[in-house]
């Protein structure tokens, strides 16, 4: 799966980071960095939670 973030929508609320810090990191520059665009399949539940809980609906999963 591929994690795609719409950076026009992303406002760095960092909810995704709280769910999966291995994949999402909001750094001190206040920007979101996707550390791993192709996380392993066993991370799918966390990725789906990140998609759902993003306040800006900025994350999508592409299969």
């Amino acid at each position: 799966m591929k994690i795609v973030v719409d950076f026009d929508l992303c406002e760095s609320n960092a909810v995704c980071m709280n769910i999966a810090p291995e994949v999402f990191e909001v750094r001190d520059d206040d920007f979101l960095y996707v550390l791993n665009e192709n996380p392993p399949e066993d991370m799918r539940p966390k990725m789906e939670e990140a998609v759902r809980r993003c306040p800006k609906q900025a994350i999508a999963i592409e299969d």
């Binding site: 960092a14 909810v15 709280n18 206040d30 759902r52 809980r53 306040p55 609906q57």
Partner: protein, 382 residues
């Protein structure tokens, strides 16, 4: 429910005519006119979940023993499992009956009505209440070019929850953007003819008002449950798994439950993130049936966007908590403040510091010692 494998009927009853949507943009992008309403529909609506919709239908009662929900108009719905998520409704201040120009902001229809009046009226918007809704409405109206007066009964916005220091920063943020902020005063009367014309404050001031938005808080919608046998006390009272009665769970703004992460403190959380999280948890508790669900023990989290500032709160601060700014400064409008009670960090509030707030959120979940957190922050600052 579907994700957990439930294949039975799922019927959603909602008093609004719309399919479910996100409320946070109603005080921001939709009100500003930047987004049209179709952008806020919940993704779950479009997904093919095989749901039955009863929109524009208000629940009027509950027969707990008979497992039936009574609907306005006399219809009844029998259930095996019930999720109560009727949310909250805006509190009002006394206003003359039928006077035009006075608004609350909870639903999409409220938002569109307010937006239409803002489009039609270049005049002054008076916002009653400087909580998060009032403050966001004030910011959005100001950015649309309206003159705005924001009235707050407390000495500083959100002072009861976040304390006077942080509260004062909010007032200054709005004043810097040209909002006329009145603190420590309440509305005594609203005057006008067919339309509102003036708002009178209890310090004697009179403010010209072309549009009034009342944002003084909400109360949980539980009238329909009176006499049902459920325990009601500023919300539907649940156990720590979100169970209100056998086969009945509650979630979101309407649910009051003991939160194990805060020592069993009974709380009701009015934030978007909790609605999502607690909804999912309540569904799992319902499906667990007699086996029982697991405790719902979140660290509540909240965000508010005002001008170019992002405010975030993780945890549950209370009156009398100690507060310490541990990063940044109030002057820079970029900071983190920690709240402590009984030796523990109970909340972290940040302005334009999203990452640290999220990290504190995770640590509060595990129990974060106040002295440890302060010592770490002091060390990092040197």
């Amino acid at each position: 429910m579907r994700e957990e494998g439930f294949t039975g009927r799922v019927v959603l009853v909602g008093d609004e005519p719309h399919r479910p949507y996100d409320r946070p943009p109603l005080s921001k992008q939709v009100l500003a006119g930047a987004w049209s309403p179709d952008r806020i529909e919940l993704p779950a609506v479009a997904a093919d979940l095989d749901l039955e919709w009863r929109l524009g239908t208000r629940a009027s009662g509950l027969d707990l023993g008979g497992r039936r929900v009574l609907l306005d108009g006399g219809a009844e719905l029998a259930y095996d499992g019930l999720v109560i998520a009727t949310g909250a409704t805006p509190r009002l201040v006394p206003v003359p009956d039928g006077m035009a120009g006075i608004h609350v902001l909870r639903t999409l229809d409220d938002c569109l009505a307010l937006r239409a009046e803002l489009d039609a009226t270049p005049g002054r918007v008076v916002v009653v209440g400087a909580g998060f809704i009032g403050a966001e409405v004030a910011a959005t109206c100001r950015e649309r070019g309206h003159e705005v007066t924001m009235i707050e009964a407390l000495p500083a916005p959100l002072a009861r929850v976040l304390g006077g220091e942080i509260g004062a920063t909010f007032a200054e943020l709005h004043r810097d953007h040209g909002v006329d902020v009145r603190l420590g005063v309440g509305v005594s009367e609203v005057h006008g003819g067919a339309r509102v014309e003036q708002v009178h404050l209890d310090d004697g001031s009179v403010i010209t008002a072309d549009v009034v938005v009342i944002g003084v808080g909400v109360r949980p919608v539980t009238d329909w449950l009176e006499g049902s046998g459920l325990v009601l006390d500023d919300g539907v009272v649940c156990d720590e798994t979100c169970l209100a009665a056998p086969g009945v769970v509650a979630a979101g703004d309407v649910a009051r439950w003991p939160n194990p992460t805060f020592g069993g403190q009974v709380m009701r959380v009015e934030h978007w993130d909790n609605a999502l999280d607690q909804g999912a948890h309540a569904a799992r508790t319902l499906l667990a049936g007699e086996a029982g669900g697991t405790p719902y023990a979140p660290v509540p989290w909240f965000w508010s966007d005002q001008y170019d500032r992002k405010l975030q709160l993780a945890g549950r601060p209370g009156p009398g908590d100690e507060m310490r700014i541990v990063e940044g400064s109030l002057e820079e409008r970029r900071f983190v403040g920690l709240f402590g009670r009984s030796g523990k960090v109970v909340a972290a509030f940040g302005m334009n510091r999203p990452a640290p707030i999220m990290r504190y959120r995770a640590r509060i979940a595990g129990g974060l010692d106040w002295e440890t957190a302060i010592a770490e922050a002091d060390a990092a600052a040197t």
